[in-house]
């Protein structure tokens, strides 16, 4: 709105906007909310680190078989919200949650919740590739083994399937016994995705999965994300707005712990409803 009132339009701004628009056709053309009920329901969810709030009053529904991107400036609570979904924030002492955050109808912060089940339903991929210092095979088999699968043939099956799904099979099929640390960064990240898939999750959380990777590796991961969304619900935190525009169906913009705007990616990027969102995606702040 303010953009229209500005007499002189910044050239770089125009370029950026153009880039977003040209990126959009690449993504699956989804203009409406996918069918089926939401997988993740957040209703007035707050998470406090001691007295300080990490995220405040988040209310949003995340839908299945779609990619939801969370963007926002550093320290805005994107990762905090993401990590709340599988309760990885428990690692940090003195955290406290209020409101409701449910996955598949099950309140995540319920006292009776089985953390093992929750985390196996909600897989996570981290910012930096973090394969265990074990063989590729053992990395992927780690989750299934936790579930009590010991049979070699069954494990072989899972490993092959997950590597196929993570588009790593062709590169790694002859080196399953090799250490995962011998892989390149991009391969390691795909291995981490394969490892997360091995527990059979419904939801995949990705915390800036490409920030430590080069553009080629990033491209392959994005391709993978697009492929995976046909089977999984994916929530991705990213700093890279082009990436959000490229891979996501829906976008949420966080700022200072608050959810500012949430909607279809196309709408958020082309027609932001909020001034802060607009400033952020056009590069005025953040």
């Amino acid at each position: 709105m303010e953009l229209e009132q500005t007499p002189v339009v910044d050239v770089t701004e125009m370029k950026q906007l153009h880039e977003f628009h040209s990126a959009l056709p690449e993504q699956a053309d989804r203009t409406e909310i996918p069918s089926g009920g939401p997988v993740i329901v957040s209703d007035g969810f707050c998470l406090y680190y001691g007295p300080k709030a990490g995220v405040r009053d988040i209310t949003m529904d995340i839908y299945p078989r779609a990619v939801t991107a969370i963007i926002g400036p550093s320290g805005c609570g994107k990762s905090t919200f993401l990590r709340s979904i599988n309760r990885m924030n428990d690692l940090i002492p003195h955290t406290r949650a209020t409101g409701r955050l449910a996955v598949n109808g099950q309140d995540v912060y319920d006292k009776r919740v089985n953390l093992v089940n929750l985390r196996q339903q909600v897989g996570m991929v981290f910012q930096r590739p973090n394969p265990f210092p074990k063989s590729i095979y053992d990395n992927i088999a780690y989750g299934p083994r936790l579930q009590g699968i010991r049979k070699r043939s069954r494990l072989d099956e899972i490993v092959e399937k997950c590597l196929h799904d993570a588009a790593l099979w062709e590169e790694a099929k002859d080196e399953l016994k090799k250490s995962a640390l011998a892989l390149s960064g991009g391969q390691q990240q795909r291995l981490c995705i394969a490892r997360a898939l091995a527990t059979g999750p419904k939801v995949l959380l990705m915390d800036e999965p490409c920030s430590a990777l080069d553009p080629v590796a990033t491209g392959r991961i994005e391709e993978l994300i697009r492929k995976l969304k046909t089977d999984y619900t994916i929530v991705i935190v990213t700093h890279n707005m082009q990436q959000a525009a490229r891979v996501s169906d829906q976008t949420a913009f966080f700022c200072l712990g608050d959810l500012i705007e949430y909607g279809m990616t196309r709408d958020v990027f082309t027609n932001p409803q909020n001034k802060q969102t607009e400033d952020y995606i056009t590069g005025r702040f953040g």
Binding site: N86, M88, L91, P93, L115, V116, N117, L118, R119, Q120, G123, M124, F126, R128, N130, P131, F132, P133, K134, Y142, G143, L146, Q147, K178, S179, A180, L181, A182, C192, R195, A196, T199
Partner: protein, 545 residues
């Protein structure tokens, strides 16, 4: 100017740090080099025929035939020295001769009594013969006792006058004349007036010769094994030879002044006597007498030793040290790693944990003798009877005491290692649904293993070398090789300590002490090398090679 100053600073830093590394290396070489050199003397040395005889007697090593011919040849050479010594000794120490004269007289009396009973001679004849015998004996004794040559000669002449006496022919009394004749020869070479001084010096010479050549052939063997053989090592033999040839005395330099060591040739003490010939003879013939040969005594590392470590090796000590060290690790490692894991993973940074940490650090600085006393009081005197074990020193108690001693070091090292494991590993595991314990066992521990191994290396070195903690709990200086863990054992560290303080045997067998210390260092190095190799493997695996 700025740049130059910075360059100067950089260069100074490089030089100083390089020098300090060099200094450390140098110190290591200076400390360990001589130690290994002297210690190697326990294994590689010139062994004498006495050494080979001892090896054959104790372990059946070597060839009996060659050993016998060698011994015979050596004894052939030694015989001259013995003869010389005996001839001189006879003139100096006449107590044996006096005893002999008295014995002859008693036999003579018995003989006379028998003859009277048989009726060969009458009682009167017997009485007169007895008085002649008595006279002869007394004359001979006087000759033996006097230090005046003329008087001695007169007495001997008086005895020999009776040699023609027909009545004495065929009787025991004839031995008197033999003795008198021998002694006549002896006093022609020995200055009887100096007999008193000779006796002491002669005893010393005889002691040294005994130490050098062992007991004389044909004589009964002494009970103690350390006196059953002469010098088994050539360097020891040469030391003894030096002591034989040179006499060392502390001489007063005048009132108020300190004593001074004076070395004089022992031959001077015996100047003018036949014994002066002994010293050059020993010097020239020591080689054929002892027949040194280059010996590689590798069995040093497996042999048991005779009481007092005079002969033999350090086999039981090595076994004891290894048992104690490894067993203490069996106790300490699980306990230490678990404790470290608990401190890092299960507790925050509370006051309680800080207090525990302070306690651990303090414990690491407690003198080891305190742990020794604790082990005595708790493990030996309290716990062992409680568990139904005999109350006494045992390997078990020693290992547990050592475990308590190394625990602080181990806990600290493990704690640091566990802390250093990247958080991302733990997160990845937790995100896959693993519990805390599972994550610790399958992810954290393997990743921390190299660091923990470093702690184990330090602990092994400490445990193997400590003496004080096992002093009251496990170590003995003498004793059989333990069959169970409830028995005490000998160890290298305690052994070298005992050699130095017990009977000060270290002065007589320095190679034993050096050998023990060398073996101890070698064991520590070998254990460390093994641990380092394992750590390398683990690190390579963690790096993905």
């Amino acid at each position: 100017m700025r740049t130059r100053l910075r360059q100067f600073g950089d260069r100074t830093f490089t030089t100083v740090s390089g020098l300090s590394v060099l200094l450390l290396t140098g110190a290591l070489v200076v400390i360990l080099g001589p130690l290994f050199w002297r210690g190697a003397g326990a294994v590689v040395f010139h062994g004498t025929v006495e050494f080979r005889r001892m090896q054959y007697d104790m372990h059946g090593r070597g060839n009996k035939k060659t050993l016998d011919t060698e011994s015979d040849q050596a004894n052939q050479v030694r015989k001259d020295a013995y003869a010389l010594l005996d001839r001189f000794a006879a003139g100096i120490d006449t107590t044996a001769l006096q005893k002999e004269a008295r014995r002859i007289y008693r036999q003579f009396k018995t003989q006379l009594r028998n003859k009277v009973e048989n009726g060969t001679i009458t009682a009167e004849q017997a009485t007169s013969l007895k008085s002649i015998g008595k006279r002869l004996r007394n004359r001979l004794l006087e000759a033996y006792e006097t230090t005046d040559s003329a008087q001695a000669r007169g007495n001997l002449d008086a005895v020999l006058k009776h040699a023609d006496d027909k009545r004495l022919v065929g009787s025991v009394a004839e031995r008197f004349f033999e003795l008198a004749g021998d002694y006549q020869q002896i006093i022609s070479t020995v200055d009887l007036t100096r007999r008193e001084e000779y006796i002491e010096d002669l005893n010393e010479v005889q002691e040294i010769i005994k130490e050098l050549l062992g007991p004389r052939p044909g004589k009964p063997l002494p009970e103690l094994s350390q006196f059953q053989y002469g010098a088994t090592r050539w360097n020891r033999a040469q030391l003894l030879l030096d002591r034989l040839v040179w006499n060392e005395e502390w001489v007063e330099q005048g009132s108020g002044k300190s004593l001074k060591k004076v070395r004089t040739e022992r031959a001077e003490q015996f100047a003018g006597t036949e014994l002066t010939g002994l010293f050059p003879m020993m010097q020239q013939n020591l080689d054929p007498m002892l027949r040194p040969q280059r010996t590689f005594y590798w069995q040093y590392f497996i042999d048991d030793s005779t009481p007092g470590h005079f002969f033999g090796g350090v086999g039981p000590e090595i076994i004891g040290t290894l048992l104690l060290t490894l067993l203490s690790m069996v106790f300490a490692v699980p306990l230490g790693v678990t404790a470290a894991g608990y401190l890092v993973e299960c507790t925050g940074d509370s006051r309680f944990v800080r207090a525990i940490r302070t306690c651990i650090n303090t414990l690491a600085g407690v003198p080891s003798i305190v742990f020794g006393l604790f082990g005595l009081a708790f493990f030996v005197l309290y716990l062992q009877p409680k568990l139904g074990l005999p109350r006494g020193y045992s390997i078990l108690a020693g290992a547990m005491t050592l475990a308590v001693l190394v625990l602080p070091v181990l806990i600290r090292a493990s704690e640091e290692a566990i802390k250093a494991v990247p958080r991302s590993y733990k997160e990845a595991s937790l995100a896959l649904g693993a519990g805390k314990f599972r994550t610790f066992i399958t992810v954290t521990l393997p990743a921390a293993a190299p660091g923990i191994l470093t702690g184990i290396i330090l602990s092994i070195s400490r445990a193997a070398g400590e003496t004080a903690p096992i002093l009251f709990t496990a170590a003995v200086a003498l004793g059989p090789i333990p069959e169970t863990l409830t028995q005490p054992t000998r160890t290298l560290s305690y052994g070298s300590y005992d050699l130095a303080v017990g009977d000060r045997i270290a002065a007589l067998v320095p190679h034993q002490q050096f050998g023990m210390v060398m073996t101890l260092i070698a064991i520590v190095l070998v254990l460390n090398l093994a641990a380092i190799m394992i750590r390398r493997r683990l690190e390579a695996k963690l790096r993905g090679q």
